[in-house]
Symmetry: C2
Subunit: 370 residues, 2 copies
């Protein structure tokens, strides 16, 4: 049995299936669904039923296991694995964790002895073990990020012991986007456990309003928070109402340039302009050691215009619904990410500790990045 | 007869009445309505059927004319005028232009010779003439802002003659908020007239999505445009897809600090970081010569949380509707404005020309600010 705390975003179901929260219905409805096939898994990632770089990675790892389970007997399992890997990688282009998790699974499985490779049952079982390990590693990694981030919040509280620490976050780099704890939110779980008073300014994060997921998550763990439009954070920093910004990341160069949800860059600029410390929380898997120039090389996903033309929520009859915001036929651009340059970042908050957004510092923490 | 171009936001109707666009239905429906009485006028302002500081001022001026027209014969017309002025000023107490326009009308009418004051017809006619003059002055002021702004766009086009000039704007500082042309949009009307190719990135401007009004307005005059969420502008500037930012203003100190719609500051930071020129368009009446410290003295209006908790639009049955975005009971903060410091502003774009955001330069253009 899995522990009930912290709440998980993907967990085992009966008959070897996996269960996920269909996050498209959050924060209004908590719906779960089972993943039993590769097709269900690619759809879940593509349609953002699961979302958040680490959760996508773990879900894709389970997708490989499900693909192998479906393979016809006497299939060429390695060929089948390669096909499934390609399909999973094609679902979302920007986050590095997806490719990282898939490659890691493929490499580990390909390295198995020929004996196992020709026995479907053992091969499938091995794939499941590897995916389970990846899920548990994600939980441990996020908890470690939380420990290091907690120290930052604790130090800020010592500066102003008379009031809660004021943190601002963008999007949902939360437990909902990981297996548990999240990255940017992990320090908040530890603050809740240990009674450190923190209040969070939650950016709405148009167009998909993942701030509502963060509000849902913070309500679940009992952290006081206030929801604001993406336009408001600059004013709050001007007024001295933000002590620290912590966000997640989708892909980070060793030099510390950060691709994250669109709008992150604007908050980093405001933080710099107002001397507010700005941290990016990430696990090792979010680094892209091959990346030379984040601005030139990271593909920025252009998402569907309906996300911008419409707002999705609950109508006055209590039904999930959408309303058209723009004049009929309005052209929309909907880039999903922007790049926050290292010079705006106070520190990278990793499972191995906090370090400056500089290549030498990152390499010192992660000597394995050759 | 008024010219049909540019489209106006208030214009004469039959039998001395005025006609307005009921802007609550924009951008989805173009509904007009007549103002024939003081009561209809105060309601139109209160309920934001008309919006935008300059348009509210002119509408209130016509409201005084309508009030005098309704006065019983042998009334004390000056007393009647004072009562109407008080009622109009109470509709939107925060809008500076409203009080400015009403006071100007009252002062001009009070200064008339006793002969006119006792003859209702001549008094009403004089009020109408003054209101018409105010409306025409607004059009001329905005057109002059447009001429000076056009030079900026024209110079940018010479730098890149092979493609349209790429302008970004925030909120609706448009013809819909003035009698015609608008402030930030005025250069676009002149570009449309003269065939200068311009493409506009239209910020959505949560929470009230006035970007949809800007999209409506640009569609009407045939300026190509693309609607984006407020988070996207930073990325566009990083990519070199923005040549210039032009926004409006609600209140500007002589030192050039600008109070404008929430989120303006974030775009100014991004413009500065990417060497994109950032202009603030405003008429003389938006300067506040009494203001010493914009950050300390300008009260930032905290607006209703429903604007953030809900999105308003057209539902799938074609009806005006709203959807709840946030988890039930989510606490919201909804400040309406932020302050963009002068150091981030390339120039103030006024009816007298463009000048640096510096007190000496503003005083040189407006020697009357003693």
């Amino acid at each position: 049995m899995l522990p009930t705390y912290p709440p998980r975003s993907i967990w085992p179901a009966a008959e070897g299936a996996l269960e996920i929260i269909d996050q498209r219905w959050l924060p209004h409805e908590y719906r779960t669904e089972q993943l039993t096939t590769l097709a269900e898994t690619t759809r879940a990632i593509e349609e953002m039923r699961v979302r958040g770089a680490p959760l996508i990675g773990v879900t894709a790892a389970y997708g490989l296991y499900l693909a192998l389970r479906e393979a016809p007997s006497r299939a060429n399992y390695l060929q089948h694995l390669a096909m499934a890997a390609a399909m999973l990688k094609a679902t979302r282009p920007t986050a590095i964790n997806l490719a990282w998790a898939v490659d890691r699974m493929v490499n580990a499985l390909t390295a198995l002895s020929p004996d196992i490779l020709t026995h479907q049952d053992s091969f499938v079982q091995k794939a499941r073990e590897l995916a389970d390990e990846m899920a548990e590693a994600d939980v441990a990694t996020c908890r470690a990020i939380g420990e290091h981030g907690y120290k930052i919040l604790e130090a800020l509280h010592k500066q102003h012991p008379d009031r809660p620490v004021q943190m601002l976050t963008h999007c949902n780099a939360g437990g909902l986007g990981c297996v548990a704890y999240g990255t940017a939110t992990a320090p908040l779980y530890l603050s809740a456990e240990r009674g450190l008073p923190v209040h969070v300014w939650v950016d709405e994060t148009r167009p998909r309003n993942q701030g509502a997921l963060t509000a849902f998550e913070l309500k679940r763990i009992g952290i006081p928070h206030t929801y604001i439009v993406d336009n408001a954070g600059g004013l709050l920093m001007q007024r001295g109402q933000v002590d620290v910004v912590i966000v997640g990341a989708d892909r980070v160069s060793l030099g510390g340039d950060v691709a994250n949800k669109i709008g992150t860059y604007l908050k980093a600029l405001a933080a710099k302009d107002n001397q507010v410390p700005f941290y990016v929380a990430l696990p090792a898997s979010t680094f892209d050691p091959k990346l030379k120039d984040a601005f030139a090389e990271i593909p920025i996903e252009e998402r569907h215009p309906d996300e911008v033309n419409y707002a999705y929520g609950i109508n006055e009859l209590g039904k999930a619904s959408r309303v058209l915001l723009t004049p009929e036929g309005t052209k929309v651009s909907n880039p999903g990410f922007d790049i926050t340059p290292a010079r705006l970042i106070t520190g990278l908050l990793t499972e191995r500790g906090t370090c400056p957004a500089k290549e030498s510092a990152v390499r010192a923490l992660y000597p394995e990045f050759a």
